[in-house]
């Protein structure tokens, strides 16, 4: 094995915040290398430094033993480094083909765009994903018309089109469903056989053990452990990641079904992506929405919140029929919605943490005057329940890591003291410790009388937190699991329509 890339003692500070204190990574030729760690541990920063989008403060980078200075994405590319972005790097207004070859368009002799070559090369790339790409996925499709998983595929194709030596996959599988992941892994193995090295960042431990050769673990801005995947196990890796083990909260013993009248009843509701969903939710209950990704779980929550209003069916809150056609209706009725897609649904970029927390409280309470002092206290408390790390409420939201940002958006809704909490894959991209805090908090809110609908793309989260799980398939409820039936096997089985 030859050492392809070596990063040593890399440091990076953003103002007073130290993102990296001692980042290190050794990547061999033709290996798939997992880079793991809780959010905010610095793995994304380290990758961005390797890919040239962030400048390091100190430390050395070398490729094939030769020290290199990477001054920008172009220089990284020239060295054969390509980064797959966790926050998508696609231009919505451009077509799939234009995005894939953006900046490296095929040219004819005189430097004009070669539309035919562009289309041919794009179609060749798409062919690799043909069986899972889904409807409407073509070279000419506009990226703005694609679903999130299709965009993720475009992002992968964009990286592959550069034929790099080192590919950094930062959460490349986050938006993909099981079949797409399987295919992605097949491609990753092909690349490996061709001698391409991959750095693979994921929050799914199963994937790490399925695909990677070695593992580097980071914690609090430093590289703390290196493993050979075949010679270690999950516990050891998780232990290195979290330091002191903070496992997910165990599922509480099956609790007697509360006999309180239902807080929320849906009767045959539907919108563009869900049909005929009925459910009833009691105070104190946490009901999970399971199934493969994109089967209508988010749409149900968005319908209930008025972001994608239901076009049929009825909603009853505490026995009374209500109409929710925009989020302010829902907020006024004590419904809170935490989205996993914080960049799109939650963040006020460039604004302070205070303003980002305050948004929901203002919508709900519609205060005539605002007394920041009083709110500050309340918000500090809300943020503290999730052990959020931040410099101060007046710091911009962008100064936080993704995971800490998400905690701020959860705090935003906690500050409104909701009676119905809609959680739309809320733990996407937050670390294990924060997840455990979050689950404990959700359980406490339920115990205090809140009714919670919880969608997660991770089955383990649903199984550990929910009293009941409704399993979705193609926009409808395919099954309901409760009590003894709450097992991973049943969940997967139901997600695949039971017959599988």
């Amino acid at each position: 094995m030859t050492l392809l890339l070596k990063a040593e003692s890399i440091t990076k500070r953003y103002g007073a915040v130290v993102a990296l204190s001692d980042g290190g990574l050794e990547l061999e030729q033709g290996e798939i290398h997992a880079l793991l760690g809780a959010n905010g541990c610095g793995k994304s920063t380290l990758c961005k430094i390797i890919a040239g989008t962030v400048a390091k403060n100190s430390g050395t980078l070398s490729i094939l033993g030769r020290a290199v200075e990477i001054g920008g994405p172009r220089e990284a590319e020239a060295l054969g480094v390509a980064l797959f972005y966790q926050e998508l790097s696609l231009v919505p207004q451009l077509s799939v083909a234009d995005n894939i070859f953006l900046g490296r368009e095929q040219r004819s002799g005189a430097g004009f765009l070669d539309a035919r070559a562009l289309r041919r090369d794009t179609e060749q790339l798409i062919a690799r994903f043909a069986e899972v790409a889904g409807a409407g996925f073509s070279a000419d499709a506009l990226v703005s018309d694609l679903s999130p998983d299709q965009r993720q595929i475009v992002e992968i194709l964009k990286v592959l089109a550069r034929k790099p030596r080192i590919i950094i996959f930062d959460e490349a599988t986050a938006a993909l469903d099981r079949n797409q992941v399987a295919l992605f892994f097949a491609i990753l193995r092909e690349l490996k056989a061709e001698g391409v090295s991959s750095i693979f960042i994921t929050h799914r431990m199963d994937e790490v053990f399925e695909i990677t050769d070695r593992i580097t673990v980071m914690r609090n801005g430093a590289t703390v452990a290196r493993f050979v995947t075949a010679e270690t196990d999950r516990q050891a890796v998780v232990h290195a990641m979290v330091g002191d083990v903070t496992a997910l909260a165990e599922r509480p013993a099956a609790r007697p079904r509360s006999d309180k009248p239902a807080r929320l009843v849906l009767e045959s509701v539907g919108n563009k992506r869900v049909q005929q969903v009925s459910l009833s939710l009691r105070p104190g209950e946490i009901v999970g929405l399971g199934g493969l990704q994109g089967q209508g779980q988010s749409s149900l929550l968005q319908g209930l919140f008025g972001a994608a209003p239901f076009t049929s069916g009825t909603i009853r809150l505490d026995g009374e029929q209500v109409r929710i056609s925009r989020p302010s209706h829902a907020i006024g009725k004590g419904i809170a919605y935490v989205s996993g897609d914080r960049g799109r649904d939650a963040a006020f970029h460039g604004r302070s943490i205070f303003e980002n927390i305050a948004a929901a409280s203002f919508s709900k309470e519609r205060p005539a005057m605002v007394w920041p002092g009083r709110l500050r206290e309340r918000f500090t408390k809300a943020a503290a329940t999730l052990s959020t790390k931040y410099a101060g409420l007046s710091a911009p939201i962008g100064s936080l890591s993704g995971g800490n940002q998400q905690k701020i958006f959860i705090a935003r809704w906690l500050a409104t003291q909701p009676s119905v909490l809609l959680l739309d894959d809320p733990t996407k991209g937050i670390d294990l410790g924060a997840k455990a805090d979050f689950f404990a908090l959700a359980r406490r809110l339920a115990d205090e009388g809140a009714a919670i609908l919880f969608y997660s793309s991770e089955d383990a989260e649903l199984l550990s937190l929910c009293d009941r799980i409704l399993v979705f398939n193609s926009g409808a409820v395919a099954g309901e699991l409760e009590g003894e039936a709450l097992t991973a096997y049943n969940l997967t089985n139901a997600a695949y329509g039971r017959a599988a």
């Binding site: 590319e77 790097s89 231009v91 919505p92 207004q93 953006l102 430097g111 765009l113 409407g136 563009k272």
Partner: protein
């Protein structure tokens, strides 16, 4: 919000909003023809084109800036500055044919320099586009007044006679339009236009893809300055003299034209060809108002309402 599936007809339309503009242009042309039966005669068409051409040219330049997600409010002042530089250089060099070429060259360089200043301030120093070009517009206008405090200084007859004349049987104004269309067709086939769309569509994505974002934005401003210079040279041929207050309304007309041509003001979509159509639509609206014997004062009002309508239409088409 989950992206909903778009109606295919709407999706097809979204990237071809200029088709709507073209339909509007044809409809206006027919109405104009009914109101003014001698419209389709060479002389009337030529005089119409002479009137519309400056807006068309400025709008082409503006469309590149807007495609890149920026805006240029200074193009009107660039037109004035180019005009006074051109007439002053021609006058200073004695007014012969070589002096005319020197004047045109100086004018074009002035336009490019103005665009470069805007681009460096905005993309280089990261100033905000709308405020910066508002300010540079005042500065360019002030420079124009400094160079030529009052209107006057006629250009030699060779200049305006040539501009008003014909070459190979076609009027020069038409040749200018054809040349402009050829330039935009060339630009539309270059990778630059994709890069500019990317920069205007999602700047972060363009940067992460390794595009030289600042250089691309600066180039868009230089193009805006260049086309403003072309417009100014045409206006100079039409008025045959210097005027430091020339073209004051062109910035806003050009933005209207770009919007009418189907561009999103937020950047990332639209085309220079659409802007040409938009500029012609604006001009035809003026004609129709005139020949329908509406009071002239209504022209600006109606152009404003139609621009608003076009913005509303753009939002409807883009909405998902």
């Amino acid at each position: 919000m989950t992206p909903a599936r778009t109606n295919p007809a709407m999706a097809a339309l979204r990237n071809r909003v200029w088709l709507v503009t073209l339909s509007a242009l044809i409809a206006l042309f027919v109405i104009n023809w009914i109101l003014q039966p001698n419209l389709v005669t060479p002389n009337v068409l030529k005089s119409n084109l002479t009137v519309f051409l400056p807006v068309v040219l400025v709008a082409i330049g503006q469309s590149y800036v807007i495609l890149g997600g920026d805006i240029d409010l200074s193009v009107g002042s660039i037109v004035a500055l180019v005009n006074v530089v051109t007439v002053s250089v021609i006058a200073a060099l004695g007014g012969g044919v070589p002096a005319i070429f020197a004047g045109i060259g100086a004018g074009i360089l002035t336009g490019v320099a103005c665009g470069l200043v805007n681009g460096l301030l905005i993309a280089g120093l990261r100033f905000q586009a709308i405020v910066t070009t508002f300010a540079t517009g005042i500065i360019f206008g002030g420079l124009a007044l400094r160079i030529l405090p009052t209107a006057g200084l006629p250009v030699p007859a060779e200049y305006w006679r040539t501009y008003g004349g014909a070459v190979l049987g076609l009027p020069v104004v038409l040749w200018v339009l054809i040349l402009a269309l050829v330039i935009i067709a060339i630009i539309a086939r270059r990778p630059f236009i994709k890069h500019l769309s990317a920069v205007g569509g999602l700047r972060q994505a363009a940067f992460q893809s390794g595009l030289p974002v600042a250089r691309i934005r600066i180039l868009a401003y230089v193009l805006a300055g260049l086309f403003a210079a072309f417009a100014s040279l045409c206006l100079t041929g039409e008025t045959a003299s210097g005027d430091p207050l020339m073209g004051r309304l062109l910035a806003l007309s050009s933005i209207s034209a770009v919007v009418l041509g189907g561009a999103a003001l937020a950047g990332g979509s639209g085309s220079a060809f659409g802007a040409v159509l938009g500029a012609l639509v604006l001009g035809m609206i003026g004609n129709v108002i005139f020949f329908a014997r509406f009071p002239f004062e209504y022209q600006t009002l109606i152009q404003g309402l139609i621009t608003l309508l076009a913005l509303a239409g753009g939002v409807l088409v883009a909405r998902r």
